[in-house]
Each structure stands twice: as structure tokens, then as C-alpha cells.
Amino acid sequence: MFNSKNAFMQKLIILSFITVSIFAHTACKKALDVTPPGEFAPGNVLATDKGIRSVLFSSYAGIQNPTPSRYLINNSEVTTDVGYNTGGAENLALSQLINFTWDASLGTLQADVWAPTYRAIRDANIVLENIDNVNTTDANKKLYAAEARFLRAYAYDLLYKWFGPVPLRTSSTSEAALAKATDEQMKAFIEAELTTAIADLPDPGKEEAFARANKGMAASVLAKFYLNTRQWQKAADACRQVMNFNYYGLFPAYQDMFRVENEGNKEMIMVHPCRNQEGFGNWYTAGALPQNFKTSSQIPEFVWTTAMANFATQYRMRSAFTNTIDTVNDTRSILLLRHYINTNNVSVNLLSTPDNVRSMKYWDNATVGNHSGNDVPIIRYADILLSRAEALNEVSGPSQEALNLINEVRSRAGIGILTMADATSKEVLRDLILRERAWEFYSEGLRREDLLRHNKFISLAIARGITVAADKHKLFPIPQAEIDANPACKQNEGY
């Protein structure tokens, strides 16, 4: 068909094409290497001061939990004699907690506790693994390592309170499938790590900015850890250590302690820091506001505006709790909303419906939509005082020293002091302290651990008519997603 010249040419072309292709194929393996232009190379992050510091801050972000802090509060209170909830989408999850019908699929366990806490652990591990090779001063290396160690220990302490022993990851390269540690391993790890961290952390007030770790924060976490694990003497001593910093003190007016303008006051040892911005807001008040709330003579400074959200869900307080507080003298009751004026200027009495008092602890006139700026306390100085009192009572029964500690808190609230005549026995004082803690710490997410420590978590639930409440409920189930993806991790007993 074609003459020989053409045939030759055609062969030549095909041949050269194949040759070029082979060259191209070899060359393009390299050509396909890409560097993500919008992401950071590990070398720059893990070897520089600013890089490793940024990873450390990611670990902080994991435990700070500004917006989900309302779940940490509610999950720890609607399961107790203090909190209650109705309505709205959040009631989907909260009703399971109220009724003790939760299971491993309950989303808040995973989304608000397990996942962010383990992210903080992941980032702390990265810092600790790489800190020796970072190009920075020895002082910074020591500081960052101590902060990472503290954050990781606090994270495990939080997980331990909610879930009991969990997989103890201390390296970013550990096997994905990791079994739970034993109870002893968990406790030993938390204690040892906090103790190590305390040594290298700055004194209270000497940290770079409020909410960065310091000795007081770590010592307080350790004190609460000892208390919740019933290591009474150690707890009493650790509380003493916090008091000995002579840095912390009670804020004079209870009802103003949680205001945005008083943030970082010397009672706030550790907080979930919040801002009135998307992603950083404290949403508690949006849920606590009763329908059509406008203002109340209890808190006349707070006036609802259309700039503020008012959720369909209703965060409520149980009558069994609110009926016990002295609404005449106890300034802590000011923030327990019992009546209000609604947007139609009609007065509404919340007491006419059971379990309907609202906690206004986090009211903020600068609230933007859902977002209030109030920090949520994790550990307050009042907690250290009451914890030491409780520990001393457990060690050696009622003492004036214990009462003094309690009375410091009661005096600030404006109610009468306790005397040895009130504290007739260890048991009596124990109950007085537990009651005091309810009044002092409502809407701060401490009630569940307090009841667990006092062995009342299950018995009080049964007393509320929750017949299904059982010992297994003392721990939450490991989130189902972890169980599904981590075959080495066994579910908590009973779930």
C-alpha cells in the first residue's frame, strides 16, 4: 500500500515514540512527587521552637473544650440529683443520661470527651517525643515538656473519671490496636506524671498567660485525683500544697465570680476558657434560659436581647436540689433563677413546675447568639478548700481545721458557719460537705464524681425511681467507635 520509504518512516516514528515514552515514564515518576503547598512539613514543625510550641497549643486546644463544656456539665449533672433537661434536640442524648439508658453509641461520650481528649494526648506525645531535637533553649525544652506531660496526665485523669482504665498511649507510634491499661497502671501513671510535671512548671501567676499550665494547676489536678481515688492523706497534703502557694483565694462575691470581666480571678485555678465567638462560646446559658426570658429581679443587670439565642432545649435544675438552698441568705441562690419577666412583660414563676429552676451562672450581656464568653471552671480554690476538708474528715473525722475550711466557703456565700456541734460524726460531716459542694458547684460538672466518691451515685438514682441504675453505670461505656476500630480494647463491664 505504501512505498518502502513511507513504511520505513512510519516504523521510525513509532519507534521514536516508544523510546520517548519510556524516557517520559521514568522521568515522570519523579515529576509526580508533590509538596502540599498549604501544609507544613514535619521537619519544620518538630525541630523549631515555634513549631513545637504550636503542637503543644493544639494539645491545649484538645482539653480546653470551650463549646462542648456544656456537655461536660450536663452529662455530669443530669445523671445526678442536681441537673435535669427537657426539650430540643439535645434532649435526645440527655434523656438517655437522665434515665440511665445510655449505651456505647451515645454520641457525646465520643465527640465531647473521648476524641478531643485523645487528640490532646496525641499532640502531647508528639511534643515529648521530639522535644530533645528542637532548636530552642533548655529552659523552653523543660517548660514545654512539663506542660505536655501535665496535659497528657490531666487528659488521662479525665478519661479515668469517665471511663475507668483506658488504652494508655504514651507514644505516637504505638500500635493502633491497644488494650486498656490496668487500674494500677492508670493511677500510677497519672500520679507519677503530674508529680514530674509539677517540678518543672512555673509558679502560679508566673505562667506566660492565664490558662497555661503552672504548678498550682498541676498540684490541684493531683489533689482532686487523690481525692476521687480516695487517697485521703495524699489528697489533704496536695490541697495543702496548693494553699501554700499563697497565690489563690476566694473571690469575694460568689454571684460575680463567673462574670466575663472577672475572668482569671485568683479563685480560678483551671478553666475551660471561653469567648463570645463561634467555636469558643459557652452555650450553657442559651440552653438554661426559660422560654421568652427577658430579665429577672434576681439578676436585674442581665437583660436578654435579640442578639442572644434561647434554645429549644431547657437545661433545668432538680427541685430536690434547689429546694435545699437558702434563698434568703445564700448568695449562691441568686444565680438559681426562680422567676422572671418574659418578652411579653409577663411575670413567670418557674417554681410552679417541678424541676424547673434554671442556673444563670454564666450569664453574659455580651452574648453573641449562642456564644457567651464566661469561662467554665474546672478547679476552683473553693474546691481545694472543701476537698481538703473532706480528706481531713476521712482521715481523722471532724476537726476544727476542716470546719474552718468549709466555713471559709460558707462565709463567702453569706450563710452561717458550721461548728463542731454540727459535725457530730465523720458521717454527718461527710454529708454536710457533700451538700455544701452541691450548693457551691452546681453547673460546674462536679456532681457525678462527688456522688461516685460518696457512693451515692447509684443509690440516689434508684431513689429517683430509676430502677435500671446499676453498678455498671459508675463508669461510662467506652465509645462504640473505639471498640469497633480497636479490637484489643474491651468494653467496660455490663455494656
Binding site: 500500500m1 513511507n6 512510519q10 516514528i13 513509532i14 517520559a24 515514564h25 515518576k29 515529576a31 512527587d33 508533590v34 502540599p36 503547598p37 498549604g38 501544609e39 507544613f40 512539613a41 514535619p42 514543625v45 513549631g51 504550636s54 503542637v55 497549643f57 493544639s58 491545649y60 486546644a61 480546653q64 426539650g87 435526645l92 434523656s95 439508658t101 449505651d103 473521648w114 485523645y118 494526648i121 496525641r122 499532640d123 483506658v166 488504652p167 498511649r169 491497644l178 498567660a209 492565664f210 490558662a211 471561653c274 469567648r275 463561634e278 421568652n292 435579640t306 442572644m308 439565642a309 429549644a312 418578652t343 452574648t367 453573641v368 447568639g369 467507635a481 473505639e482 476500630a485 480494647c489
Partner: protein, 1051 residues
């Protein structure tokens, strides 16, 4: 399916494509050329013989089709140099000797015929027109083939076959037109993308959109701007980047369905390929076309909600019966506000297209301008588009060819707040559905009146006017190519293509809205560009050897680069909100936020294909592509995608030659491996990205966190697809069609495999799992009446079935996914079930007073919903969930009836879908209300259970969440089967004796005229979550009914 013959109605080529500049022209001419060569050889051979004449044979050649005489038929005495041609009457005479003589009759476009003469003196022959029109070719990857020689499953649609009407994008025109292609409109929002799936869904996470190729350029269909402005209710139905292409510029669309057709696109082929070819100029007189239409659109449906009076009666009655709270009693004297109507309007749509085409000597051109303006039926929504195109070609046949295709567009989108937000984040439509209908819209002073009971939902009209966004999109793309022919059968073609898509989206939340007021207004500007360039070199070679063998081959390589950049910023706190986003910097600067992103991908490919034909009956196609993608780890950089297909034109066999009613019968078989790589970039690289902000001393501090668990072993999803099909044309081509069966098995599915959360990571993208899609594509077209007394009636029908089955999820037993509003995990993916399976509770009825309550869950009362207690533990909990239906239909279909009478033409197009379900989220909000005072669907509440009305259909709604929130259940997952009269078009061709205007056609079209369905929501096809697979109807932008009047004028 291949292309039926020209007379087959629905798929008929109204326009014979010209591809004179492509190598394919020579290929198209190949049979002719080879026959010529044959003739020459015969002539040469015959000169060696010298035979004496003994007699003269006379005869007539005529058309087998209609008996008309055929002039210019070459008549050749086989084995001699003796030849003649027929005259104008088809008559010939030729001398022969002996009784063994054989005459050959040859005419272009007709089948060659051999007739033994014997002792006859008269030989009359009829010649059959070849089924395949030589001019008609089908565009496939990196070339074209004669349509009779297609071996794969390819649908070819010409511009006239596409659905007429107000179509902003290409997909809309495909609905119900092509078998095996499932197209549905997810929303009536102007310009929103449609769902297009070719033979179902082949992937779980790596995308199910087909690859679009416009004039040989693979289209990078990423949106330059994703997400929405700060605080703005998202618009989940994304805009379709293909909106930039004016449908009026489309000459043809080919849909490649099977592996043999798509494997040439390798790692992007597994979801099928849509090849779009734009119009070309023709040599000759300058042709000017102007087409226009104008129409009106209305919302085709709205939800039936309680009116003010009913609202008062029903809510108060429920409170009386023990539900709700006394303080929520409706005490005002109700008005009846239909909030949906307050947001709807009658909207205009208009379109103008002007094109000029022509050519002289070696140069041809097509140029067009287009303008399209569609208002949305929802206030403040709509789209405007301006397009321009230039296609230019210059060629000297079989020497060289050059050309460019150039398209540029500007699109202005206006978005209302449409989306899935709830409560104060709800869209205007969400608010309209939920808002108190008993309070008037306006205060006496004319301002908007907010109901005091709706503090968590904003006034629908305040939302419609105070939350909006718009975008300006500029997209320019085009190709340039040059081809040089070394020889008639051998050419090298170089092609370059580029595509730049730049978009800016502005968003505004006015301080008058609930969301905008706290911050004094929120303005956002998001900009981005998506860019693409490509270089391609191919060698095309074609030859034939001997009489029976023809070969056509292409080989080449391509380099492609995909880039994207984005930048976004938002501001808050505007003292004066007048200037909105136009003065974004005038807010409170401490609240400003900015962000940016940048990414790129490369693909380097080598490809080749061989088409071999034996005796013009047996066809073999084999193709191969090697793709190297920067999306995959260094351990798996290159993927290899082979395919093969055979076809047998049975009608060319002698045993079918005599069967007069068979015009075409072709049997096809194909198999191949194709891939999918539509996943995020960089998944194999360990890096750090921005983490959450930490707060110290009340200030925010940025952080860095590991981006992902890197997987260096990542590779493409592989699909193995087998296809078997038959094409036929029967009874003088009156009945044509094709039937195909396919089986596609996807393995190495790209899945985000959950990691133990205790690692600090959520997922790791891995190649895990397998999935199967099988189905039948059926296409039929028939001429019921063919020009009998000026009357024509043609029926065309397509039917596509898809059965999807997940075969394996690797180590996972199931994956929960999907949701909207307050609902999550509405769907389950698990082996044995179809993708898009709804998972929830089966409602058996309503508990009645006389029921045996000993088996009932604790606390259940008469009037509560009775759920199936699957495990019989007297508790309705997560363990009682079952699969309730699936979002993928069993089959979809389209039927077009075209009636022609003289100059009138009437086209009636029905389309439907059977067997799919949809989650009705509006029903969920009524069955499980988040707040008592929100409005409800009328039917369940007006017919609710009461002691006096012990219905088994609807509960009492007294304590709707008494058993928990079984939101996804057999009442809220509804059958979404439907049959729709999608369009009716009546047109008239004017007969003009006018030198200026050469043609004039006028038409009226009605779209979406009625729908037959049992679905209780606004439309069975809507999908508010923008997902390819799962369908949820929630605050959906309404579908529209439209009436258009149009004119086409040719000058």
C-alpha cells in the same frame, strides 16, 4: 448501545456531523479507499486477460430501499478490465462471454453486490443503502469511530435529541434520554447541580460523578469556592461548573458506559465518561441562527401545613388531651398565613442565543453568544449567564489540520438562604415551614411581625431579605490542536488545553436577622480559582491489508495539572451596614477572620488503542492506559487499565442477508479494568496543618496538628466491568434499539477506615472493600406512523435498571452515615445491602385502647406509635432498627412520543423512577417536634389518633417522644417512585419565501406538568443534602413548573 440508523427517531442524527479535520476522516473514508484499491487491483489484473466478447448483458440498478433507479453505479466484470456505469435511469449494458461471468456493482454508501450472470442476458439489481451513514461518527476517547463499528456501550445523542426547555446545564438535557444514565434534578434552585450517574454508584467515598470531556479536554469539575460565608446557612446543592457551557453550543453528547469505552480514561473512567462535542462551522454560505425563549416558572408544589385556625385548634386540643404545656396554648385570634407562599413568586426565564457559522476554502468557524437569565421561584434567587464561543479550524485534507475551541463565560448566581440549618440557623424555607401561621406577616406599621412564640426561629421574610449571597464566576476553557499527516494513514496530533475558573462569592447576614444582629452584620467574601492545563500527543495510524482487514490505532501520552487556590475572609460589627460585603473592612477589625488554601495534582498518562475489523463483520477493540497520579503513594504511583471488546455484525453474514426484516443485528461483548481516584490530595503524606485555637489570657492562639494518618500504599479504586449487548434495527429500520447487561465490580474501594479514636485520629483512607453493580440498559425506538399522509409518530423509550450491592467493607461490619437537621446516621452501609439503605424503625401502627399492653414498652399509651420490637425485649432501642428502603431506584425510564403533522410537531416526554425511597425530614419535624409551637404538617395532625378517631395511621402527638426519638422510621422513609410528564413541546415550522430569513420555527413548551407519586413531600426527586447517593428532603428548594415560548430563526 450504539447509534441506531438515521430514521430511528429519538436518536436520529438530525445533522450529519462533519469531522473533516480529524484523522477520522481518513478512517471514515477507509472502506471507500480500500474498495477503490480493490477496484484498481482488479482492473490491473484484468488487463492480463484478453477475452472475446460473446454477448451483452443489460439491466437496471435500483435502490432496495424505495426502488428508485440508481445512476453512477460502477458495473464491473469480475476478472476483467471491462467496466461501465449506469446512466441517469440506472440502466447499463456490458459485454460478457461464457456462463461463468460475475458482475460487481459498486456505489458509494451502498453495499457492494456480486451477481453471477449464468446464461442470463438481463441482470436487474437492487442495492442496499448501508445502515451506517458514512458521515456519522461517534466520538470516543481520543478519536472517533464510525457508528456501525462501535464495539462498546456508547450512547450518542445529537443536539436535537436532548430534552428541550429551560436548561442551564448539560445534564438537564440528558434526563431520561440515554439508557443506563440516571439523571435527576435534586432541587428547583436555578443553576444547582444535578445528580448524574452512569450505571449507578460505583464508589462509596471517592465520588460517583462521570468524567466530562469537552472537545477532548477532561473537565476539572471542582468548585472554586466551597462552603459558604460565615454564619450563612449553607447551600448544599453546589453549583455545577458545567454551567459555563452553553447547551446551545452542543453538537453531540456521547456517553461511554462500558469498560471498553471508558478504560482509555483509566483512573477516571469507572463512573463513565460524558463526551461533549461543540458545534463546528461548515463550508459554504454564512449561516446565522438566533434562538430565544421566554417563560414563566412557578413552584410546582408546597407542603400542606396547618393554617392559623387549624393550628390553634389542633395545638390547643393536644394541650387539652395532656400534651404540651399550658403556657404554650394558642390564645390569639388567628390569621391564616401561608409562609411558603410569602416566599414564592412567579419567576421569569429567558434565553437568547446567536450563532454565526460558515467557512471558505480551508477555514471554517462557528461563533456564538449566549445569554440566559433565570429567576428563582424563591425570592432573591436566580442565575444569569453570559457565554461566548469560537471554534475555528483550518485544514488541508491529509496534510495538516489546526484548530481551536474557545469558550468563555460569566455567571452571576444569586443565592437565597437555602439549606439544612435548624432553629436560628434555619433557612427562609425552614422558617416558613416551622413558623407560627397564626400571627400576621406584618405589623400595622408595615414592619415584619415576629411571633413571640418563635424566638429560636427567625421571621421567614426577614431571612429571605436579610441573608443572601451571590457569586461572580468567570470561566474560560479551550483547546488548541495541530495535526500533521506523514501519510494519508499516519498522523501525529498535538493538543493543548486549559481551563481557568475564577469565582468570588459574597455573603451578607443583615443585622435585622437573628444571626446577624448580635454581631452587627456579618459579611464574607470567598474567592477561589480552579485551574487545569493539559498537553497531549497522539499518533494515529490506520491501514488496511488484503480485502478483509482494517486496522486503526492510536497511541499517545498526556500530562495534566490540576490546581486550586482559595482565599476567604469575613468581617463583623458594622456600624452602618449599608455597604454590606462591598466594604468588608469597615466592621470591627478585631473580629475579622481570614483563611486560604492551595493544592495541586498531576496525572501523567500513556494510552493506546487498536481497532481491528475483519471482513467488516468482526470487530475487535483493545485499549490500554497507564495513569500516574500524584494523589497516590509512591508505592502505587502508576495504575494500568486494559480493556477489550469484540463485536459481530451478524447482519453482514450471508445467512441474514436474505432475512429482509433485519436491517441490523450486532452482538457486542466487552471487558475491562477502570479506576476512580476522586479523593483528597496528599493522603499519603505526613504533614501538619492548622489545629484548633487555644485560649490563653482570653486571647486565641493558633496551633498545628498532624493532618492525617498517611497511607503510602494508597491507590486507585479498581472496577472490573463486563458488558454484553445487542443492537438491532428491524422492519425497514422502523424498530431499532439495543439491550445491554453489565456487571461492574469495584474493589479496593477508597474508604475512610475508622481508626481507634485513642490514636487521636478519626480515619485513615485505605483501599478496602468491594461493591457490585449490575443492570440492564434498554433502548427502543419505533416509527408507528412514517409519513402517512403527512403524519408521523415516533416513540422512543429508555429503561435502566441498577442493582447495587456492597460486597465487603474489609474489617468493618457496617458504616453509619447520612443525616440532616437533627438526624444523623440515617443510613447504613453493610455487605449484602444496597448503598443508600435507610436504617430505622418499622412502624406497625398505633397503639389502640383495646390492645394488649403487656407486650408494650414501658410507658406506652393508646395513641402512641407502635414500633416493631425486633428483639422482643419490650424496649424500642437501637437494636430494633431494620433496613427500611434505599435511595437508589430499581429502575428509571423515559418515554418520548413525537408526533409530526405537516409543519407541526408535538413532543411529549415522560420520565419516571421506581423503587427508590427518600427520607422526609419535614415529616420527622412533625412527628418528633423539637418545639411544641412550631407549625406541623396538616394531614397527620388533622387526622391524628384520638379516642374518637382510633386510627392506625397517625399517632395522638400527645407525647411524641415517649418512646425515644425513632425519627428514621417507616413513616418518615417514604416511597419516592414517580412518573412525571416532564415536557410537552409543540412547534411549527413556518414556510417562508424570504431571502433573508431561511427558516423560522416557533414553539411552546411546558415543563414538569404533572407528577404521579405517593410521596407526601414536595417532590419525590428532591435531595436537600447534595449527596450522590443518599436522599433526604429537608426544607428543599421547590421544584418548578414552567411554560416557555420560543423562536428559532435561521438567516
Amino acid at each position: 448501545m450504539t447509534i441506531p440508523p438515521p430514521s430511528s427517531g429519538m436518536y436520529s442524527g438530525i445533522h450529519v456531523c462533519e469531522y473533516p479535520l480529524k484523522t477520522n476522516e481518513t478512517m471514515n473514508n477507509m472502506p471507500k479507499n480500500s474498495t477503490r484499491l480493490l477496484l484498481i487491483k482488479l482492473l490491473l489484473f484484468s488487463t492480463l486477460l484478453a477475452n472475446a466478447q460473446s454477448r451483452t448483458i443489460r439491466g437496471k440498478a435500483s435502490s432496495a430501499d424505495n426502488g428508485t433507479p440508481l445512476p453512477n453505479v460502477t458495473v464491473l466484470l469480475k476478472g476483467s478490465n471491462s467496466r461501465t456505469t449506469t446512466d441517469a435511469n440506472g440502466d447499463f449494458s456490458i459485454p460478457v462471454s461464457g456462463n461463468n461471468a460475475v458482475l460487481l456493482f459498486y456505489l458509494v454508501n451502498y453495499s457492494t453486490k456480486e451477481v453471477p450472470v449464468g446464461d442470463k442476458t438481463t441482470v436487474d439489481v437492487t442495492l442496499e443503502l448501508k445502515n451506517e451513514n458514512l458521515g456519522e461518527v461517534v466520538v470516543v476517547g481520543y478519536g472517533t469511530v464510525k457508528k456501525s463499528d462501535v464495539t462498546g456501550a456508547v450512547v450518542s445523542l445529537k443536539s436535537k435529541d436532548l430534552t428541550p426547555g429551560a436548561n442551564i446545564n448539560v445534564e438537564q438535557t440528558l434526563q431520561g434520554r440515554a439508557s443506563g444514565v440516571q439523571v435527576y434534578q435534586k432541587s428547583g434552585e436555578p443553576g444547582s447541580a444535578m445528580s448524574v450517574k452512569i450505571r449507578g454508584a460505583s464508589s462509596i467515598t471517592a465520588g460517583n460523578d462521570p468524567l466530562y470531556v469537552i472537545d477532548g479536554m477532561p473537565v476539572n469539575n471542582l468548585s472554586p469556592v466551597t462552603g459558604s460565608g460565615a454564619g450563612f446557612v449553607a447551600t448544599p446543592n453546589p453549583r455545577n461548573p458545567l454551567n459555563s457551557l452553553n447547551p446551545a453550543d452542543i453538537e453531540s453528547i456521547e456517553i461511554l458506559k462500558d469498560a471498553s469505552a471508558t478504560a482509555i480514561y483509566g483512573s477516571r473512567g469507572s463512573n463513565g465518561v460524558v463526551m461533549i462535542t461543540t458545534k463546528k462551522g461548515k463550508s459554504g454560505k454564512l449561516s446565522i441562527n438566533y434562538s430565544t425563549y421566554y417563560g414563566i416558572q412557578k413552584a410546582s408544589n408546597s407542603l400542606e401545613l396547618l393554617n392559623g385556625q387549624q393550628y390553634k385548634e389542633v395545638l390547643n386540643a393536644i394541650i387539652d388531651a395532656g400534651g404540651g404545656v399550658a403556657s404554650e396554648r394558642v390564645t390569639n385570634d388567628p390569621v391564616n398565613v401561608d409562609w411558603q407562599k410569602e416566599l414564592y413568586r412567579t419567576a421569569n426565564v429567558q434565553s437568547h442565543d446567536l450563532s454565526i457559522s460558515g467557512g471558505k476554502d480551508n477555514t471554517r468557524f462557528y461563533a456564538s453568544l449566549g445569554y440566559f437569565n433565570q429567576e428563582g421561584v424563591l425570592l432573591n434567587s436566580g442565575v444569569k449567564r453570559y457565554t461566548a464561543r469560537l471554534n475555528l479550524e483550518n485544514s488541508v485534507a491529509q496534510k495538516y489540520a489546526f484548530g481551536i475551541n474557545f469558550n468563555t463565560s460569566y455567571i452571576r448566581d444569586n443565592y437565597n438562604s437555602v439549606g439544612l440549618g435548624v432553629n436560628e440557623n434555619g433557612s427562609a424555607l425552614y422558617a416558613a415551614i416551622n413558623y407560627d401561621p397564626s400571627y400576621p406577616v406584618y405589623n400595622p406599621d408595615g414592619s415584619f411581625n415576629r411571633s413571640p412564640y418563635m424566638t429560636t426561629i427567625d421571621h421567614p421574610l426577614i431571612l429571605a431579605n436579610g441573608q443572601y449571597a451571590n457569586s461572580d464566576g468567570f470561566r474560560t476553557f479551550g483547546t488548541v490542536y495541530g495535526e500533521y499527516f506523514f501519510m494519508p494513514g499516519l498522523s501525529v496530533k498535538l493538543k493543548g488545553a486549559g481551563d481557568v475558573n475564577i469565582t468570588q462569592r459574597n455573603t451578607w447576614l443583615d443585622p435585622s436577622t437573628i444571626l446577624g444582629s448580635p454581631t452587627g452584620g456579618i459579611a464574607s467574601i470567598n474567592t477561589g480559582n480552579v485551574n487545569y492545563y493539559m498537553g497531549e500527543a497522539t499518533v494515529n495510524y490506520k491501514t488496511s491489508f488484503g480485502q478483509d482487514h482494517a486496522l486503526n490505532a492510536v497511541a499517545g501520552g498526556t500530562y495534566e495539572h490540576f490546581g486550586s487556590n482559595s482565599f476567604g475572609g469575613n468581617g463583623r460589627g458594622y456600624a452602618l451596614p449599608d455597604l454590606t460585603y462591598n466594604a468588608i473592612g469597615t466592621g470591627n477589625s478585631t473580629l475579622n477572620q481570614i483563611g486560604s488554601g492551595r493544592a495541586s495534582t498531576k496525572i501523567i498518562s500513556f494510552l493506546g488503542r487498536v481497532n481491528y475489523t475483519y471482513k467488516d463483520r468482526y470487530l475487535l477493540t483493545a485499549s490500554f492506559r497507564a495513569d500516574g497520579s500524584s494523589r497516590f503513594g509512591s508505592n502505587n504511583r502508576f495504575g494500568y487499565f486494559p480493556s477489550a471488546a469484540v463485536a459481530w455484525k451478524m447482519h453482514e453474514e450471508s445467512f441474514l442477508k436474505g432475512v429482509s426484516f433485519v436491517n441490523e443485528l450486532k452482538f457486542r461483548l466487552s471487558y475491562g479494568v477502570i479506576g476512580n481516584q476522586s479523593i483528597a490530595n496528599y493522603l499519603y503524606i505526613t504533614t501538619f496543618s492548622g489545629g484548633g485555637n487555644a485560649i490563653f489570657g482570653g486571647e486565641r492562639y493558633t496551633s498545628l496538628a498532624p493532618s492525617r494518618v498517611a497511607n503510602p500504599d494508597l491507590k486507585w479504586e479498581a472496577a472490573k466491568q463486563a458488558d454484553i449487548g445487542i443492537d438491532f434495527a428491524l422492519f425497514d429500520n422502523r424498530l431499532t434499539g439495543s439491550v445491554e447487561y453489565y456487571d461492574r465490580r469495584t474493589s479496593d474501594l477508597l474508604l475512610d477506615l475508622p481508626q481507634p479514636l485513642s490514636t487521636g485520629f478519626g480515619v485513615k483512607t485505605q483501599n478496602i472493600g468491594r461493591m457490585k453493580n449490575t443492570g440492564i440498559d434498554l433502548h427502543l425506538a419505533g416509527d408507528v406512523f412514517r409519513n402517512s399522509q403527512g403524519f408521523n409518530w415516533n416513540v422512543g423509550a429508555v429503561l435502566s435498571t441498577v442493582k447495587n450491592e456492597v460486597l465487603s467493607l474489609g474489617p468493618l461490619s457496617q458504616i453509619f452515615t447520612g443525616g440532616a437537621g437533627f438526624i444523623s446516621n440515617a443510613s447504613i452501609i453493610r455487605p449484602g445491602a444496597s448503598l443508600g439503605s435507610y436504617y430505622g424503625y418499622e412502624v406497625l401502627g398505633v397503639w389502640q385502647s383495646h390492645d394488649d399492653f403487656s407486650t408494650a414498652p414501658v410507658g406506652v399509651k393508646p395513641g402512641d406509635l407502635k414500633f416493631r420490637d425486633v428483639d422482643g425485649n419490650k424496649q424500642i432501642n437501637a437494636d430494633d432498627r431494620v433496613i427500611l428502603g434505599k435511595s437508589l431506584p430499581d429502575f428509571t425510564y423515559g418515554i418520548t412520543n413525537t408526533f409530526g403533522y405537516k409543519r407541526f410537531s408535538l413532543s411529549v416526554f415522560l420520565e419516571g423512577s421506581q423503587g427508590a425511597s427518600v427520607l422526609n425530614n419535614a415529616a420527622i419535624d412533625s412527628y418528633f417536634p423539637v418545639s411544641f409551637r412550631r407549625n406541623k404538617l396538616a394531614k397527620p395532625y388533622l387526622n391524628r389518633w384520638t379516642p374518637e378517631n382510633p386510627t392506625n395511621e397517625y399517632p395522638s402527638f400527645i407525647n411524641p417522644t415517649s418512646q425515644g426519638q425513632q425519627t428514621v422510621n417507616s413513616k418518615t422513609v417514604e416511597d419516592a417512585s414517580y412518573l412525571r410528564l416532564q415536557s410537552v413541546r409543540l412547534s411549527y415550522d413556518f414556510k417562508l419565501r424570504n431571502k433573508v430569513i431561511r427558516g423560522l420555527q416557533a414553539y411552546v413548551t411546558g415543563q414538569n406538568l404533572f407528577t404521579i407519586t405517593n410521596y407526601s413531600g414536595i417532590d419525590p426527586a428532591v435531595n436537600s443534602i447534595g449527596d450522590d447517593i443518599l436522599k433526604i428532603d429537608y426544607s428543599s428548594y421547590p421544584m418548578t413548573r414552567s411554560f416557555l415560548f420560543g423562536l428559532n430563526v435561521q438567516f
